[in-house]
Symmetry: C2
DNA sequence: GTGAAAGCGCTAACAA
DNA sequence: TTGTTAGCGCTTTCAC
C-alpha cells in the first residue's frame, strides 16, 4: 500500500463521512441556482436583499441556502463590488504602549463590537518595525484589502499617517492629530478633562497641584496638560513648570515621574492616565506618605484598575467603548459619503469621584 | 456658485493635485504590462517572484511598478489563488476577560508580530453575543475570508469550536481543549507551571500552601491546579480542598478569592495568574498582613505588572509572545500541509523569583 | 421579475 | 522565456 493510494483512500473516506479533512469543493452560487431552478442572478438578488424577486422564489432560494449552508465567497464578492467588508485599525510603530496600556485593548474592543454590529470584519495592523510599516502600508492604502482605516493618532509627522493620507482608502484618525491637518478625526475632549481634574483638586483646597503629563508628542498628552494650565490660569494661579513632569502613559513612567515630583512636595497631582497613577501611588507609598492625606491624586481614563487601587482612584472617565463605536460609525459615513468635509467628533469626559482626591463623598 | 458646481471644482482640483480626495481609478496589472511592453502574465510572474523571467525584463517591470506605486488588487488575487493572506484570531463570547486580562493583549501582539513577519494580515474576531457568533462564524469558516483560524480555547463544548471544526478552514486552538478532541493545539505546560510554583513554596518551608485557581472550565485553570495537586501529592502531603479557591483570572476575582482564604490562615498561596495575584496582595494588605513574611505568594504569567507590585511578584513566566508567534507558524504549517496528523505544541515555563515568595535572592 | 452575459483584476495552464 | 487564454465566483447592467 503506497502513499498515494493511502492518500486517495483517506480522501474517499473523508468524502463519505462528509467531514472537512479534505473538503469537497464549496458550493457556488450556480449550484444554488440550479437546485432552485433559477438563474445565478436571482440567487444573487436574494442574497443581497434586492427588491423585484417574487416572494415565492425568494423563499425557495432561501430554503435551499439554509439547507445547504451555502455561504458566498467573499473574495469573489469583493472583486465584483469593490468592497471587502473589512475595516482596518492601525497602530503605528511609534505607539509602543499598545500592550502595556489597557486603554488600547479597550478601544479595540469598542471598535470590534461596532464592526460586529455593522457586519464588518476588523483587521488589526500592529506595526513594530519600520520594515513592518514599509511592507504593510502600501497594501493597506490600496483598494482591495480594507474599505476604510482607523489610524491611532501619534507623534507629529508620523510616516504612517502621511502615507495613509496619500492613499486611496478612506480613513479616520483616532485622536486629534498634533498638527492642524485637514483630516477627519474623533477625539475625547482632553483639554476639558484636564481642566475638570485640576479644578476639582483646587476646589478641595490643594495649594501645590502638580501634574504628570502624557507624552508631549501626543495630542492627548498636550491637551490634558493644557487643561491643567487653563485651570490654574483661570484662577489667577501661577504655573510652576517644575511641577509639570512628563510621563509615557506606562505604570513605570508614572512611578519615576512621581519620584521626581516628591522632593518638590506637591499636595496634589493630576496624573494624565490611570496606568501612570498606579505607578505614582506606588512611589508615594514607598516614601511613606499617604493618599489622599498628604497628596491627593486624580487619574484619567477610568479603567477598571481605578476601582481597585488603594485608595480607589478619583479619575476622569473617558467613554472608551463609545469612542471605538463612534469611530466605526464615522468611518462608515466617510466611506459612504466621501471624506469631505472632514468630520470632527469630540466626546465629552466626566469626573468620577472616589477616595484618592480626598473629597468627602 | 451652487453645491454641485463646487463639488465638481473640488474634484477637478484634486485630480490636478493628484491627491486622493476623489481618486482616479487604480492601476491594474494590464496598465503596468502595457507600459513595460510585456504581457500581464509576465508582470504577474515578476510580482510573484517566479523564475523564468529574463532579468532585464524583470528589472524593467520592477522599475515601472516602483515609479507608478502600483499595488495588486488583493481581492482579485484572492479570487484567483483561493488564498486571502489573512489569518483570523477568534475570541469566543465565553472568554469574557479579553479586555481585563492583559494576557490577551500580549498574545494578540505575538500573533500580530508573526503575521507581519510572514506577510499575513491579522483579522480579529471578538464575539460578545450569541448573535455575533451566529452571524460571523459562517463567514469565518468558509473559504474566501481567512486562510486559517486561531481559536482561543475556552469552556468545554463551546459552540464556536464546534462550528470551526465543522468548517472548511484550517484552524489551531490556542490552549488545550478541555475535552480530548482530535484537533491541533498549542499550549503552555500549565501542569508543569503549577507544579514549579507549588514546589518552590514548599521548598521554602511553607506548610499551609493554598491556591487561587483559574476558572475550572478552562484547561489553563484545570492544569495549573493539577500541577499544584501533583506537587503536594509527590511530597506525601494531604491536599486540603478548603485551601483551593476558584478565581476568574481577574484582579477582582483574585481579591475575593483571597478574602475567602484568609480566615484559613495559609502561609503561602499559588495564584494562577498575575492579575489575580494583584488582587490577592490587596486583600492581604487590607487585613494588615505582610507578604512574604506572613503569606508568600507566587503568581503566573510574568506580565509587566509583576515587577511593579509591592513586593514584586515571584511568578511563572509564560513565553506569551513566543506563544503567539509559534501559533502562527503552526497554523501556516497546517494550511500548507493539511491538518492531519493533528499538531500538538507545548511550550515550557520558567520560575521567576522576586520578593513575594520570601526566597532570599 | 428574471436571465444572459459581461466584467471585477489577477493567476496559471498551455502553447508557442 | 514569454504570451494567450481560460477561469476564480460574484454582481450588475441590459434585454426580455
Amino acid at each position: 500500500m503506497n502513499f498515494v493510494y493511502w492518500l486517495r483512500l483517506l480522501k474517499t473516506l473523508s468524502q463519505i463521512k462528509g467531514n472537512a479533512f479534505m473538503s469537497k469543493r464549496p458550493l457556488r452560487i450556480a449550484d444554488i441556482a440550479k437546485k432552485a431552478g433559477v438563474s445565478p442572478a436571482t440567487v444573487s438578488r436574494v442574497l443581497n436583499n434586492h427588491p423585484y424577486v417574487r416572494d415565492e422564489i425568494r423563499q425557495r432560494v432561501l430554503k435551499i441556502i439554509e439547507e445547504t449552508g451555502y455561504q458566498p465567497n467573499l473574495a469573489a464578492r469583493s472583486l465584483a463590488t469593490q468592497r471587502t467588508g473589512i475595516l482596518g485599525f492601525v497602530i503605528p510603530r511609534t505607539v509602543h504602549t499598545f500592550f502595556s496600556d489597557p486603554y488600547f485593548a479597550r478601544v479595540t474592543e469598542g471598535i470590534a463590537q461596532a464592526c460586529n454590529a455593522h457586519d464588518y470584519t476588523l483587521s488589526l495592523f500592529l506595526f513594530y518595525t519600520v520594515e513592518d510599516e514599509r511592507r504593510m502600508i502600501p497594501r493597506l492604502t490600496r483598494k482591495g484589502l480594507v474599505d476604510g482605516i482607523i489610524v491611532q493618532s501619534t507623534h507629529l509627522q508620523d510616516e504612517v499617517l502621511m502615507r495613509v493620507m496619500d492613499g486611496e482608502v478612506p480613513f479616520l484618525l483616532a485622536g486629534r492629530p498634533v498638527a492642524p491637518l485637514n483630516v477627519s478625526y474623533i477625539d475625547v475632549d482632553n483639554v476639558a478633562g484636564g481642566y475638570q481634574a485640576t479644578v476639582h483638586l483646587l476646589q478641595l483646597g490643594r495649594k501645590r497641584v502638580a501634574t504628570i503629563a502624557g507624552p508631549l508628542t501626543t495630542s492627548a498628552g498636550i491637551d490634558r496638560l493644557e487643561g491643567y494650565r487653563k485651570a490654574l490660569r483661570e484662577r489667577g494661579l501661577p504655573v510652576d513648570e517644575q511641577l509639570i513632569v512628563e510621563g509615557d502613559f506606562t505604570e513605570m513612567g508614572g512611578y519615576y515621574a512621581m519620584r521626581r515630583l516628591l522632593p518638590l512636595e506637591p499636595d496634589a497631582v493630576f496624573v494624565a492616565s490611570d496606568g501612570m497613577a498606579v505607578g505614582a501611588l506606588r512611589a508615594i507609598r514607598e516614601v511613606g506618605k499617604q493618599v489622599p492625606r498628604d497628596i491627593a491624586i486624580v487619574g484619567y481614563d477610568d479603567l477598571p484598575i481605578a476601582q481597585s487601587t488603594t485608595p480607589p482612584l478619583t479619575t476622569i472617565r473617558q467613554p472608551i467603548l463609545r469612542f471605538g463605536a463612534r469611530a466605526v460609525e464615522v468611518l462608515l459615513d466617510i466611506i459612504e459619503n466621501g471624506s469631505s468635509p472632514p468630520r470632527r467628533v469630540v466626546l465629552g469626559t466626566e469626573l468620577v469621584v472616589r477616595a484618592s482626591c480626598g473629597a468627602t463623598i
